[in-house]
Each structure stands twice: as C-alpha cells, then as structure tokens.
Subunit: 355 residues, 2 copies
DNA sequence: CTGAAAGCGCTTACAG
DNA sequence: CTGAAAGCGCTTACAG
C-alpha cells in the first residue's frame, strides 16, 4: 500500500460503470445527476478512497484553490496570529495556503517571490508586510500588474489602490496616551518603533494628537526611536530619563519595548507605576505576568486574518473581475484596538488613593 | 496589463521559432540545447516575462514541488521558529510550502488534512505536531499509508518507523536541573508541561535522572503539572510552596511558566534567585529582561527546520524510493539543547558570594 | 440526466 | 541537437 499509485477519475468511472464526466459531476456536487447514479459513484469513491488531483483540476479550471500569503516576521506576535487566522479561515473556505516569508523589509527578492506565486497559479495574494521605507512606492508600481487579486493586510492602508484591512494605529497611540494622561501623568514620553515603519509613525501620530489635545506642547525630545526589541526599550528609557528626569509615563509601541522600559525603571530605582507609568501594545501572553502586570493595547489580529480571507475570496469570485480602476477607491477597513488596563499604569482612582 | 492572460510555452516557442519541446528544455536547463538556440529562447522568455505553469508541470511530472507542513500552535515560540526555518530552507531548495494548521492535539480532522495534502500532490510532508496522547498510535497506524515521504519534527522520535528530527528533551531537563543543583539548590521542584505531552515527560525524565544521580530521593510531590501558560506557572508555584515551604529552586518546562513562577515568588515575598532559583526553557525574546533576567535552555529550532527540509528532500530524490521497511530503523536525530545562564538562578560563584 | 470530444500547459519517451 | 506525438488527470462546452 505504501507509495501506491493513486487512483484516477477514469478508474472510478470504470468501477461505477459511468463516464469520467459523471464522476466529475459527483465530486463537484453538480445538481444534474440521478440520485441513484450519484450514490453508486459515491460508494465507489468511498470504498476506493479516491481523491481528485488538484493539479489537474487546477489546470483545467485555471485556478489552484490556493492563496499566496506573503509575510514578514513570522517569529513575531502580530504576524503569527494573523497567519494562523488566515490559515484557519482559508481551510474553512476550501483554500490551501502557500506560505512565503520575507526576510528583510526591503523589496529585494519580492519580484522572485511574486513570480513563484504566479507560477503556482494562486487564486489571490494576501500581502501581510508592514509598510516600510520604499515598500509603498513599490506596491504602487507593481501592485496593479499582478494577475490576481491582492489584499493588503496590516500596513499600507489606502496605498496603491488595493483593498486593505488593518488596525487603526493612530487610535492605538491615542488610547494609550489618553489613558496615561487620565492617570495623572504630566510628562509622557514615547518609545516608537523604527521610524521607517508606517505603523510606528501612526502610533506616534496618535501620541502627538493626544498630547496636543490635552493642551501640552509636544516636545520632540520626548520621542525616542526603538526597534521593537526589549533591549531597545530599555535603552530608550535611559535616554529619556537622561533628557527628562521628570518623565512620569512612557508609551512603548509594543510590549517587548514596554518590558524593556519596565526593566530599565527597576534598574534605575524607579517604581512602576508609582514613579513611572508604562503602557505597551500587543498584549502578548506574558504581559499579564510582567512585574508589574502590563497595561497594553490589544489588536484584533485574528479578526483581521479572517476578514482578509473573506474579502479576497469575494474578489476571486467576482467574475469577470470588476474593473478595479483608479477611480474607484478600493475598500480600506481599519479595526479598532482595545485598551487592557493592568498595574503598570496609574489609573485615575488608583492614583488618587496612592497620593 | 492587469489580469492579462498568461503566456504559454507555445507562444514562447512560436516567438522564438522553435518547438515547445525546446522551450521546455531551456526552462529546465537541459544540457542538449545549442547555445545559440538557448540564448534566443532565453531572450524571448525575458522579454515577455513568461513564467511556466507549475500546475501543468506538476501534472506531467507527478510532483508539485510543494512540501506540506502540518503544525500545531503556530502562535507559540517553538513552532513559529521551526516553520520560519522550514520555509526559508524550502524556498532555497525550490519548494513551495503548503501550510496546514491543526487546532487541537487530538487526531480529529487530521484525516481530512492528509487527504487535502494528497490531493494537492505534495512531494512530502513535514509533520511538526507534538506527540500528545494517542498521536503516536495514530501515526504508527497511518504513517506508513501515506503515499509520500513523511518527516517527523519535534515529537515522536522513533515512532512509527518514520525519520525524525528533534531536540533531546531529557537533556533539557538534565541541563536545567544540574545547573540548579550546582548552584547549591537542595530542594528542586519542577513545573512540567501537560503530562500527555511526550516533550513534557522527557523533560521531567531528565529532572528525575539528575535528582537521583545527585543522591537525592525523587519526591513525587515536587512535580506539579502546568499547561505551558504563564498563569499555570504561577499557580504551580503556589501549590509547590504550600506542599514544600523549603523549596529553593524550580525548573519550569518553558519560559512562560518560569515567568509565572517568578511572578508568584514576588507575590509571596520570595527573592529570586536568593530564596528561589528559577530556570525555564526556550529563551524567548523577553527572557533576557524578565525581573530578574531568566536563566533558560535554548533549543536549536532553526537548525531543526533546516535539517527537516534537507532530509525530506533527500527522501524525495531517492527514486525509486528505497523500501523504507520495518526492518530498517529510519534515522532519528536529536539535537542538543544549550543552557543560557542569567540572573534568575544562583550560580556556584555567586551563591558563595551571597552566602 | 449522461457521454464523446477537446483541451488546460506542460513533459516524457521516441525518432531523426 | 531538435521536433511530432502522446499523455498527465481533470473539466468544459456541446450533443443527445
């Protein structure tokens, strides 16, 4: 049985005493088959364990029932959650996933990757790469040449006239900063992600808006750039303290940098949250057990993955493809983040008790 | 240009004034083509941007150049690292990846998944599912029926007569426990993973051996079962303290539970490492900035992913497939873990200074 | 409701 | 070194 030659539709047809055509109708659930015939063919299929060859099916149908997923940083929290959700939803809808990882955030090797995806005749491409540097320009140039529907996830909202789903990153910055101000903070610093990242800039933008809206002046020296790593969060805190000893709150643009900031606070003898409030972003599994437990901003990543698949499926099904012309702005959907309050930040009630 | 019909080999042939056959030779780098002809065809291909249809190629060759990867828990540290490494190595070697996620660890839905994989004519399957409960029996029963090479990753070493690559989990337990004892610990508890997991049992086994080898008696009540989550680590610590107030070291079977144990130590007023040494497993990105920084055991996960692809490629290339008969025990390779010493555990020198 | 024919885009022997 | 023919395993119109 091992390595056995696989059955073909022809053999099933012969065994059932019908044409291959009829077997095809049965396995595709076509309506026009006599119930009795259907049952007979079905019986043979079940007995023999016949499985249609998707390569052959793909060749005739001109589609592979596979979605190409291009991702950066599968090791990280966000991407891995999104990909997991995409896979589950895709499986649910009958798609396979062709996983393609990108190492750097530059557009090197992307041409090769897209070429592979086209070769494999994927039905659509989900592009889960953050907008970094010249990415946007690249997508704008090449995005429309792709012979299949493309869906942008996470970054590049409104870019290149392609549909997109992501998180409102400015809202993340606002949520975190408003919370810190509401807790009584007067000097709120921010540790950003790499400034070349669109997400990082948007979170910073939210911080700016909120600081300004509260009537404070936006001091540029309160902005320190990190690189998403724990260590960069720690170093950022030291620089911040040096420039602004009066600092009493930090918004770190992800949980790892928030952890670094908390660590730095411990090292320099600052109590969190009494001396320094800290808020992160992501709500990683560990966040609830940091010391102190981390206040952070949750992003609905699984929802994004699910929706991405639903939207692209819809695009695939639109035959003939509606002209996704420049005039019609494609849908851009941004989901709202959610604040998760824990002990690393002073809350209104708490601070009044403490003081 | 958008949604343009794709070129076929026939059109390239016509443009180059040769037969499709010759174009096929060129794109497959066959030797027997006149240099001049080769160049002419190549020029047409480059000018037109022709890309061969892998579905058609797969149909004729009987292989898809795709590897099926079945994974549990992509959200987690281990699996995401391994998958990332697999994808990179596979791309390097010309394979695409069909990603298939499993939700639970039971064998539900696995049949369906394998059926899909067969349908898609994958060249081989990399099975990165931990050995849990009846998994092993299931694999033993069905593993050999698969019509393609299968490679086990991470779990089920030596199971089902299939080749396997993983980590020596008993060595992880030994490494951690020896380190704790060397640091002067006299009462070393262990927080295990779920006892249905083979990995968890192996790490426990390493702990047992080491405790016994050091001349201590193995007290079963020092063994507390966790479920890999931070919270379970915290709860486990409380139970351990209750049963054994004299406890002075804990080996947590992953970093998250180690974090939970540290958290619980703080809560109960114990200093780490002075009162309680803690060691974890994984060396997640955050571990270096826990408070205190976590001593942990690193697993060479990327290496595992790379090797898995190399081995399965070799199996695929073996044509005709050597009889992988029951008599020949297939290769099982276990890589060695590595201890990463930080501040959460007393080291020999340190403890002598402290005391 | 069912089947014979043609074709999807390649590659594999087989001639020359 | 090159090409005409057949075929991979399906599905798509088209008859009946």
């Amino acid at each position: 049985m091992t390595m056995a030659k696989r059955l073909t539709i022809r053999e099933v047809a012969a065994a059932a005493g019908v044409s291959t055509q009829t077997v095809s109708r049965v396995i595709n659930n076509h309506p026009d088959v006599a119930p009795e015939t259907f049952a007979r063919v079905q019986a043979v299929i079940e007995k023999t364990g016949y499985e249609p060859n998707m390569l052959a099916r793909g060749l005739t149908q001109g589609r592979s029932h596979v979605l190409g997923v291009v991702v950066y940083g599968l090791d990280y929290f966000g991407p891995s959650r999104v990909v997991a959700a995409i896979e589950r939803q895709a499986a649910e809808m009958g798609y396979g996933i062709s996983l393609n990882l990108i190492l750097g955030t530059e557009s090197d090797g992307v041409g090769q990757m897209l070429s592979n995806l086209r070769s494999r005749q994927v039905d659509g491409i989900i592009w889960a790469i953050p907008e970094v540097g010249d990415n946007r320009a690249w997508m704008r140039t090449h995005g429309r040449d792709l012979p299949v529907p493309v869906m942008l996830v996470g970054g590049m909202a409104g870019v290149a006239c392609l549909p997109c789903i992501g998180i409102d990153n400015a809202a993340i910055g606002r949520l975190a900063t408003e919370h810190l101000l509401a807790g009584g903070a007067r000097h709120v610093g921010i540790v950003t992600g790499p400034r070349t990242w669109w997400e990082a800039e948007q979170r910073l933008q939210g911080w700016r808006e909120t600081i300004a809206a509260a009537g404070h002046t936006v001091d540029e020296s309160l902005i320190i750039e990190g690189d998403w790593t724990v260590d960069s969060g720690e170093q950022a805190l030291y620089r911040m303290i040096e420039a602004h000893p009066e600092i009493d709150a930090v918004f770190a643009s992800n949980d790892q940098m928030a952890l670094g900031a908390i660590y730095g606070a411990h090292k320099t003898g600052r109590r969190v949250p009494e001396d320094l409030s800290v808020v992160g972003v992501d709500n990683i599994a560990e966040a609830s057990h940091f010391w102190p437990p981390l206040t952070t901003v949750h992003q609905p990543l699984a929802e994004i993955g699910v929706m991405a698949v639903q939207v692209i499926d819809q695009m695939i099904m639109e035959t003939p493809p509606l002209r996704r012309s420049q005039e019609v702005q494609p849908e851009v959907r941004l989901l709202e983040p959610e604040l998760v309050v824990r002990d690393s930040s002073r809350s209104v009630r708490r601070s009044s008790i403490v003081e």
